[in-house]
């Protein structure tokens, strides 16, 4: 029984991780195609992509879009959650629902909607447009995480701060934000990884300056190469690093 359980666990991990392992292994492939047999390790593909100006620019663009759009989504989500926690409006449940609703809509639909809307207002496809798109998908996420972590305790502390003479911005800055720090960080890093990995919206809403997933897509169109594997490995590494940081700092402390 025990052996079976371990076998199941291994099979599951294999299923989840094998594609990534294959990707990483063939990024070290010492021949022109990332397919078996494995021809021995080399770092030349990594050297090649680091020397690739367009690719590095796309990487910087991605970092920039992810940082700014996550920060904006975080601030807006925090303000929305604080507002809804403070007052009990007749439509509170509806407002919450509408705020979270975009999470259920596919990125493709959101991207199409944004594309048409930006056309109408004359905003050209660009990194700014993509950033706005990422705020649209990450705001509901940030709101949901922050709102869920606001308990009675939090609300009472906010009341106490007001009672002691704090203006609304002081309540948010001195009391709410520090008390919610773990959830704020969790929301920010999740939003960051979602934006970092996001393809469809970026694909439809960028033109000349593109984000990394879009650049990888155009590399793929000229055929498979271990270089794409190398880029993919770097993207994966960044995501893993963020998740690890989260796991080690925030969630461990909360568990203790």
């Amino acid at each position: 029984m025990r052996v079976l359980a371990w076998a199941y666990l291994l099979a599951m991990f294999g299923f989840i991780l094998l594609p990534v392992v294959v990707l990483i292994v063939f990024s070290f492939q010492d021949s022109r195609l990332p397919v078996p047999p494995f021809d021995g390790p080399t770092l030349r593909w990594y050297a090649e992509i680091i020397a690739d100006r367009a690719l590095m620019e796309a990487l910087m663009n991605s970092l920039l879009v992810a940082l700014i759009s996550s920060a904006v989504a975080l601030v807006l989500g925090f303000l929305a959650a604080s507002g809804l926690a403070r007052v009990l409006l007749p439509g509170s449940a509806l407002i919450r629902g509408v705020l979270i609703a975009p999470m259920t809509v596919s990125y493709l639909i959101i991207a199409l909607g944004l594309l048409q809307m930006f056309n109408a207002v004359g905003l050209r496809p660009s990194l700014v447009a993509t950033g706005i798109g990422h705020v649209v998908i990450n705001l509901p996420l940030c709101f949901a995480i922050i709102y869920a972590s606001m308990g009675e305790h939090q609300k009472n502390a906010m009341r106490a701060a007001r009672d002691l003479g704090a203006a609304e911005w002081q309540v948010l800055w001195h009391v709410s934000a520090p008390m919610l720090l773990p959830s704020l960080a969790a929301a920010f890093f999740l939003a960051f990884t979602f934006s970092w990995d996001e393809f469809i919206i970026a694909f439809l809403l960028t033109r000349f300056d593109v984000t990394l997933p879009v650049e990888i897509w155009s590399m793929l169109r000229s055929g498979l190469s271990p270089a794409t594997n190398a880029v993919g490995s770097i993207v994966f590494l960044v995501s893993v690093a963020i998740v690890l940081v989260l796991e080690l700092t925030l969630f461990r402390r909360r568990g203790a």
């Binding site: 502390a157 009672d163 001195h174 520090p178």
Partner: protein, 341 residues
């Protein structure tokens, strides 16, 4: 540094339910007032209205003769000590206590001095650098008190602050609250549903029921001379005997008693029923007795009304045999009519 509070015709309605019915109440500067009543009587609503967390549907809140009805909590000369203390978990005790002064623009040195002085007053000076989670419940309580008093409010509002403490600690905190109130001279408005706590700390008790003030008076007044049946019953155990006027006295199931003629309920506290006193209740048979430490709690069946049970608290050692027939007497009788206001 303290002002009187005047509540005029306060009415408050929540959706489909009236929590307060035209309440009028004056709180003198420096007074320790306790709002006492069962849950749902409107006492916490009234406190929230004084603190500015609720705006009454009708009526006015005056603090120091200024109309505060529409003023938000942050601009009122009131502070609140919350039921769950609501300390800021990410700040040291010193920063917690200094928070109000910081919001008023005081510099670090000024507010730290004041915070240390306040912590000194509540006996936590040595822990000023700690965080709230390192403290016991009673200590958090003291920090909450120090924080609320640090801004020198005209009125301190206390929302059932002792509810979460065990009995022994609660007694101790009651004494401390009263001592600190005397020292700082700020008016305290304290909400509780515990009548012993109310009597222990109040200068004046305001008994509330179903959104109305039943009685307001000193603890002695409210306990010994209750104005209504509700207030009599809420302040402690009571024997209730129906009475109807008859000539120069009243008729009761126990017989004719020489009391002011009035229709209503004769109320006798168990400790005011015994083997001697001013008012003769007649012969009764002892049914049951149990020892409570400070007194014996005894049940008597009057011979004139064998179905009625009178409860009497008799002094230690002065207990008749079970089944014995004795003459019962009473002191401090009060007759309250059903509609007494």
């Amino acid at each position: 540094m303290t002002a009187d509070v005047s509540l005029q015709g306060i009415e408050h309605r929540f959706a489909g339910f009236t929590a307060l019915h035209r309440v009028d109440l004056k709180i003198a500067a420096g007074e320790f007032v306790v709002l006492l009543g069962p849950s749902g009587c409107g006492k916490t609503t009234l406190l929230s209205i004084i603190g500015g967390f609720l705006t009454p549907s009708e009526g006015q809140v005056l603090i120091g003769a200024r109309d505060m009805t529409q003023v938000p909590p942050k601009d009122r000369p009131t502070t609140t000590m919350f039921q769950d203390y609501a300390l800021f978990p990410h700040m040291s005790l010193r920063d917690n206590v200094g928070f109000g002064l910081r919001m008023r623009g005081a510099g670090r040195a000024v507010r730290n001095d004041k915070a240390d002085a306040m912590l000194e007053m509540v006996g936590l000076a040595a822990q000023a650098g700690r965080r709230p989670h390192e403290l016991s419940g009673g200590q958090r309580q003291r920090v909450a008190l120090a924080r609320a008093l640090a801004v020198e409010p005209d009125v301190l509002l206390l929302d059932e602050p002792l509810g979460a403490l065990d009995l022994k600690l609660r007694r101790q905190m009651q004494d401390e609250l009263k001592a600190i109130q005397r020292r700082v001279g700020t008016a305290f408005v304290h909400v509780t549903h515990d009548q012993e706590e109310a009597m222990a700390i109040a200068d004046r008790i305001v008994v509330m029921n179903q959104g109305r003030v039943e009685q307001a008076g000193s603890p002695e007044d409210v306990y010994l001379r209750p104005a209504t049946l509700f207030s009599a019953g809420f302040m402690g155990e009571m024997n209730r005997i129906p009475a109807t006027p008859d000539g120069d006295g009243v008729t009761t199931p126990l017989g004719h008693l020489p009391l002011p003629p009035q229709r209503g309920t004769l109320c006798l506290r168990p400790e005011n029923v015994g083997l001697r006193g001013d008012l003769r209740l007649g012969p009764a048979r002892m049914i049951e007795a149990s020892f409570f430490g400070a007194h014996h709690r005894c049940h008597f069946a009057p011979l004139a009304a064998p179905d009625m049970i009178l409860t009497a608290n008799l002094p230690q050692g002065a207990v008749p045999e079970r089944g014995a027939e004795v003459q019962l007497f009473a002191t401090d009788p009060v007759i309250l009519s059903e509609t007494a206001q």
